[in-house]
């Protein structure tokens, strides 16, 4: 079975439905002006011409899932005795993430380090991750905000993907990256693609050159003292609205919240994404909140991705440069510009870094 294949554009629907035979396919569906990752079903329109508004992270790490459900059981004749029946479900069907981008796929590798490659693996994420095949579409070029090349990625990087597709005249050049990917290549509608390999390589190089790199000096560490100065963050982030758009659109954010919901006799324990930009993220039961103001929260967000995570996972950056947090930020905060300055304060002094007239207000 060939490692290299070719899939004509008009066969995309057929290919997705074939993938859907024994697995649930998550594909970027066009709904109005929005492209959302949905479980593919007949009648949904797949759109590959720009990265989806949301990353496919939800396919493996859903925004809201039931960790366990419980039911109280009581007998009428012994009202003081009540036992609880727990139901846990961790067997998930096979799935395929189709149409994600290389930065989305690399996002999973960031989460894998925390949820899978540890002795305290998360059973839910791990099971779904193992059951999922990731078919990634390489980018023809960057969109507003992209900077994947700056964080070790690229529009054609294969890390995290099982199959990569590159758009070449009238179809897609497929290349299997892993064994799981090879299984996909065996589908009937995939023709032999060796002849397209060169053209695909050329298209990928052209795309890689087009993406901006916000960190020309390379990936050296963030300067500690500047990072720790509250004054710096106060000036940087006055404009931030402290909403959750950046974190909920980020392929690498994995923080979550657990809440129990009970309805008289039944109930469930829910895990849902949480955002470090929300006021409630670090609100303690005592009412104390170590990060009550937004600039402390934003410092934590940047720190987690570019400071704490790299320290813990020997230099790996918890950001794949997809640019969604820049593209969809209500006030266009550019994280790459801030991190660029943190890494090399002298290289390009930004006006927002200028000293304020008096101390912090």
């Amino acid at each position: 079975m060939a490692e290299k294949g070719y899939l004509p554009k008009e066969k995309i629907k057929e290919f997705v439905e074939a993938l859907g035979k024994d697995a649930t396919v998550f594909a970027p569906c066009l709904e109005g002006d929005t492209i959302v990752f949905r479980e593919y079903a007949a009648g949904k329109e797949i759109s590959l011409d720009r990265p989806a508004n949301t990353p496919p992270k939800g396919a493996i790490y859903p925004q809201c899932e039931t960790l366990l459900s419980f039911e109280f059981k009581k007998e009428a004749d012994s009202p003081q005795k009540m036992d609880v029946e727990l139901k846990v479900n961790t067997d998930f069907p096979k799935a395929v993430v189709f149409g994600g981008r290389p930065c989305d796929a690399r996002g999973f590798t960031v989460i894998d380090r925390v949820f899978v490659n540890t002795d305290t693996a998360d059973p839910y994420y791990k099971k779904r991750r193992e059951n999922t095949t990731i078919v990634t579409k390489c980018c023809n070029g960057p969109v507003a905000g992209c900077f994947c090349v700056g964080v070790g990625g690229g529009p054609a990087v294969t890390e995290g993907s099982d199959v990569v597709m590159t758009e070449v005249d009238g179809g897609y050049y497929l290349e299997a990256v892993t064994d799981k990917g090879k299984a996909v290549m065996s589908l009937p509608m995939i023709q032999d693609g060796a002849s397209y390999e060169a053209k695909a390589k050329q298209a990928n190089e052209k795309a890689t050159a087009a993406v901006r790199n916000p960190f020309p000096a390379g990936a050296d560490k963030i300067s500690g003292d500047l990072f720790d100065s509250g004054d710096f963050w106060g000036r940087v982030i006055d404009k931030c609205l402290s909403c959750g758009a950046c974190t909920f659109l980020c392929p690498t954010c994995y923080c979550f919240n657990i809440t129990d919901e009970q309805a008289i006799t039944t109930g469930e324990r829910i895990r849902s994404w949480d955002s470090c930009m929300f006021q409630h993220f670090t609100l303690e039961t005592s009412g104390h909140n170590p990060r009550p103001v937004k600039h402390k929260r934003f410092r934590n967000r940047v720190g987690h991705k570019f400071y704490y995570y790299p320290e813990k996972y020997d230099g790996a950056i918890a950001c794949t440069g997809c640019g969604r947090c820049i593209r969809y930020c209500p006030v266009s905060v550019d994280i790459s510009e801030i991190v660029g300055y943190l890494r090399d304060p002298k290289a390009d002094p930004k006006e927002w870094a200028a000293e304020k007239k008096d101390a912090k207000n």
Binding site: T34, T54, A210, E261, S332, A354
Partner: protein, 316 residues
């Protein structure tokens, strides 16, 4: 051009305020981002063009000291509503008014140019020219402006201390304001239900619409996330999303100044302002009240008349 006049005014007011809030260039040519000016050099960074869509008045309630802020006509209604509800101290705000002929929705432009990266954006009176790798395209601002500009009734700020150019009058008919609401009202109950449930299904509960909303001053203790009171769960079901958007709409009843920020910032392009505009239409019909127009008005949901002219008892 009024950008030069804007910079002069900013430098003039800077000494007696803590900060001047205005716009500056963003991360690419199609984006502007706010700037909190504290020193005269920063004033040169300021821009004013149809990309300056964001309503900067939203920052005012959180400012502790005296600040100046640049506002368009629609943004000024936010300040008037703050005055009505006592959420800011008018003497602590220097308002730099900018008469505006309509801003641009960057999402509409991106869609029009097929989401290609933008190399350059220039503005001539009434139109915008966008340079992309596959060439240049020009659009009339009226075709790529957000809904609110197509029916703008207040191009010139209602309250201001300085004005960057002569006041201009609105040339849009009053009934165009609620044209989109009327169009939806024309549909059947089922069609509207399907429309709204379909749209709200895309919601990812990131609360950008709430945090961008100038009137949502209690966003840090919003009941969408609290357990005391426990109105909604953290589930991502359609019910909970619908509940959140109803909470937002009902809390804005008689207060929403239609600045359009909620729709502008929604990453999933959900028309969240529709519910608020429908309530505003009812406020106008019921109480002849338009939010954010007259500082002396009282928001209708926090007052009452013993005899309500337009509220009749419903018969079964």
């Amino acid at each position: 051009m009024s950008t030069q006049k804007l910079k002069e005014i900013i430098k003039q007011v800077l000494p007696d305020v803590e900060t001047v809030i205005c716009w500056q260039d963003g991360f690419d040519k199609l984006n502007v981002t706010p700037i909190f000016i504290t020193s005269p050099e920063q004033a040169d960074k300021v821009v004013w063009n149809p990309l300056c869509a964001q309503n900067l008045a939203s920052y005012l309630p959180s400012q502790k000291k005296k600040v100046a802020v640049a506002v368009k006509g629609c943004d000024s209604r936010t300040i008037v509503q703050y005055m009505q509800e006592g959420l800011i101290d008018r003497d602590n705000v220097v308002i730099i008014g900018i008469p505006c002929k309509g801003v641009v929705s960057k999402k509409k432009v991106q869609k029009a140019i097929g989401n290609e990266p933008v190399e350059d954006v220039t503005f001539t009176d009434g139109s915008v020219k966008v340079k992309t790798p596959s060439g240049e395209k020009t659009f009339a601002i009226a075709d790529v402006c957000p809904g609110k500009c197509a029916s703008c009734q207040y191009p010139t700020p209602i309250v201001y201390d300085h004005l960057t150019s002569e006041a201009i009058k609105s040339d849009k008919p009053a009934e165009s304001v609620y044209a989109d609401v009327a169009e939806l009202e024309g549909k059947t109950l089922e069609e509207r239900k399907a429309y709204f449930l379909g749209q709200f299904d895309k919601c990812i509960r990131c609360y950008a619409c709430r945090n961008a909303c100038p009137m949502c001053v209690c966003q840090d203790s919003c009941i969408a996330e609290t357990r005391e009171p426990h109105w909604i769960t953290q589930k991502l079901s359609l019910d909970e999303k619908l509940m959140f958007h109803m909470i937002h709409s009902l809390h804005l009843a008689g207060r929403c100044v239609e600045c359009g920020e909620c729709e502008r910032v929604c990453p999933m392009e959900i028309p969240v302002a529709k519910l608020k505009k429908k309530i505003n239409k009812e406020m106008r019909d019921l109480f002849d009240y338009t939010p954010g127009v007259n500082p002396e008005d009282k928001p209708p949901m926090y007052t009452f008349n013993v005899d309500e002219a337009k509220i009749k008892e419903h018969k079964l």
